[in-house]
């Protein structure tokens, strides 16, 4: 453990721990939404610290689409075992039955059914009243106004005009019948903070974040990895092996890679500091319109 963290990181860590503790203090059934990405890894690390020497008083929930990278599933199962956390995996039964996938149904429909609807099903089924998420305000413009404690209506919708003001660090976590709260302990972290923290704390992350030779194809300006034999090639399309890595991870047919030779966290940080494109640039689902993210979140997307 490296104790000489930059001061701003220590301030962010203390703030996140405060948020975790405050949220569970008045919650009946909290849960941590675990997405296997780097932010989730940091979120879990902070949860473990917030409740030490005990265990975090909540399970992990992974809303699965069956289309994540193979390496992500392996990482997830290993991690839950290592930290002895309860892991709930939810797959939308409608999607399983109808074989919903990004190739036949498109990225928007695929994401809405598997992730948005799947999440709502899981939260309602288990009656979770507080759900921790790893979203950061610097990810996208409409997130910049999301609260740390974000109240959702019984239908899980988000109304940006009806948000509770958040004063000082006094959070109003009172809930009316059927309401729930999404809590974002990483609200004030940036992508660079996340990587610096991962480096200092030596946090394990999915190997896909590091560059390696991988089979990929070019599609609509994105580099897509061929992760299994469900991949649908276009006529004349052939995978080629290139040195790539991912800045964000999701469903493999929807996650754009970047060409990179960064094989260590310090390489990644250097690449970020001199880089010229944003993290979400590699996400297919953000390209559905200028304010697409805001609309998704009004529906209940995380």
């Amino acid at each position: 453990m490296n104790k000489s963290k930059p001061r701003h990181l220590q301030q962010l860590v203390d703030e996140s721990i405060f948020i975790f503790r405050e949220a569970v203090s008045e919650a009946e059934r909290p849960v941590l939404l675990y997405s296997i990405g780097k932010d989730s890894s940091v979120l879990l690390n902070l949860a473990l610290k917030a409740f030490a020497p005990g265990k975090p008083p909540f399970p992990l929930l992974h809303v699965d689409t069956t289309w994540k990278f193979k390496a992500m599933y392996a990482f997830r199962d290993d991690l839950a075992k290592r930290y002895e956390m309860d892991l709930i995996v939810h797959q939308n039964p409608y999607c399983l039955e109808n074989n919903i996938n990004p190739f036949d149904h498109g990225s928007a429909r695929h994401t809405e059914l598997w992730k948005t609807d799947g999440l709502i099903q899981a939260l309602q089924q288990h009656k979770f009243d507080v759900a921790f998420g790893g979203a950061r305000r610097d990810e996208e413009r409409s997130r910049a106004k999301e609260r740390v404690f974000s109240v959702r209506s019984p239908s899980q919708g988000w109304d940006p005009k009806q948000q509770r003001p958040e004063l000082w660090n006094t959070y109003n976590n009172k809930l009316a019948q059927g309401q729930s709260i999404r809590v974002f302990p990483l609200s004030n972290w940036t992508e660079l903070d996340i990587w610096q923290y991962i480096a200092i704390e030596e946090i394990d992350i999915v190997p896909l974040y590091f560059a390696a030779p991988r089979p990929v194809v070019d599609r609509d300006g994105l580099i897509i990895m061929v992760d299994d034999d469900r991949f649908r090639f276009l006529p004349d399309e052939k995978p080629e092996i290139r040195s790539v890595r991912f800045r964000t991870l999701g469903c493999y047919p929807l996650s754009g890679a970047i060409e990179s030779n960064a094989t260590s966290i310090n390489d990644i940080i250097r690449e970020l500091e001199t880089g010229t494109t944003s993290e979400r640039q590699g996400r297919v689902i953000d390209k559905d319109g200028i304010a697409s993210m805001e609309r998704k979140r009004q529906r209940g997307y995380f």
Binding site: P6, F51, S142, T170, E273
Partner: protein, 633 residues
Amino acid sequence: MSSSHNDSGISGLVSGSEDLGLLRFLTCGSVDDGKSTLIGRLLYDRKLVYDDVVDQLREESKRFGTQGDEIDFALLVDGLEAEREQGITIDVAYRYFSTDRRRFMVADTPGHEQYTRNMVTGASNADVALILVDASKGVRLQTRRHSFIVNLLDLEHVVLVVNKMDLVDYSQSRFNGIVDEYRLFADGIGLKSVTEIPVSALRSDNLTYRSTNMSWFDGPSLLEYLETVEVSNRSVLRPSRLPVQRVVRPDSEFRGYAGTIATGTIKVGDELIAAPRRDQFKVTSILTADGEVDEAEAGRAVTVTIDSEVDISRGDVLAKATELPQSSDRLQASIVWMSTSPMLPGRPYIIKMGHKVAVASFEAPRFVWNVTTLEHVAARTLELNSIGVCHIDLDTAVVFEPYVESKAMGSFIVIDRETLETVAAGMIQFGLRRSENIHWHTFEVNRDTRRELMGHDSGVVWMTGLSGAGKSTIANLLERRLASLGVHTYILDGDNVRQGLNKDLGFTDADRVENIRRVAEVAKLMADSGIVVIVSFISPFRAEREFARRIMPEGTFFEVHVDVSVAVAESRDPKGLYLKARAGKLPNFTGIDSPYEVPEFPEVRINAAESSPTESADIIVAALVEAGIVRAS
């Protein structure tokens, strides 16, 4: 995304420079003073915006922009779709950036007066405020209002950013004129530490680099200022306070208390108490995110263990035995009202102070501020965006410090009990020592003695329902039935209360709340004297009935809902009131243009359309018998 080349690797800071941590600042100013442009430009100039975001920005500038074919930097900051289309900033948006020297968090808040609450929210989480002024327009009403709020929230530093200097030919005398005018005002409200910087956000003058267009100015550029301003950790020097956020008991072995240190430092071996109680104990260990430490200071999230088994709960405050904090159940505070429903004096609200939750009622404001003229104005309530000073009564004593001494221990939020929304923010000025001056005498003749004398227990039968539901008829029959059983009774109703005790009150929502509060207090005293009090009031609001219930001893309050539809009540209309109300001659008439909130869990619900008044009275007597208040014969 740090700005440029950085040889210090993961620290994000130039090696050797002091680590100043995170700076939280707020931008405020009038509508067109260019706040969003300033922030957007700052990010762009420092190459803190990625290329794909700039491409998106170019495309949007053509659609929504106000700068012709140029990039409209404000669009980088204005997040929500509605705002981009209307060209205004509605909410508080948070932005993040870092330079080689510091990490920044910016709260961008709206300028319009109707968004005062958003600005207060942004200011509550900032160390420094940038107040923008348009050089061509000078100090305006909004500038004064924002400065007042920044001072009220006690921000450590203020920067007067005189923007759009390009529009006044970078005139030094124009700048000096604005500075002089502002200083006069700032001194008047007691604003400390003001720095003035002339800039042009659009042309990037004095933003990141000192501008050659204003060589007469020898101060720092805005970014230089922000990179170097010292946020003295005032809270570390204050007495030690650790509000208990959570009692940690993972197994039978470990018992600790988790929280974030509000002020001062905590060391292993310190002699502490858990206010408001006075039992002393010693700190045996301190756990932080970085493992066990011997000492931790303000801002750190810790879990401490102690050497004895004291009863400590969430909301208590650990403090040094030599530096006892104050506590009181009556406070004077500045209140910023944030809800469209005005504050109702006397109505119970929830307040949350740190981790302590209490029920509070406000007195009518002592005054509200006219925040542009700074005059004190008389008011009976607080409306959306108004700022006033009130006395507050709490149902329990809270540990606190004045806001100017400790933001963490002197601030609170107010939550509506029905909607559970945050309706106000409060800053404590001082405690009013009612609890130490007025003692409730413990009389030797008590409730038990009176029960013996009377031959029955006492209580309150609270009849609520629409006008014309039959409350008075049932009350009179009930009183006769009880008298025949030898029970001492009294009826409180509109006829005997409105004409005397409450003749100063009208029928506005605020007056109705006060009316019921007084009736509830009188009923409580009369019940305490040993009789059964029958209250017969429309009492339309759930919160006031809950107040009446809460001040009575458990099991002695009987809420009776005399339930009838508006249609039935209106068809009876014994006093011709509905007719008048429909004709618009009786404003705020319950059921017509004022709401009736149906009781959720009354002890007795009477269907007045089906049960006769005599049957109804019998149902109530049966309930009193069952509860053991009176005997059946």
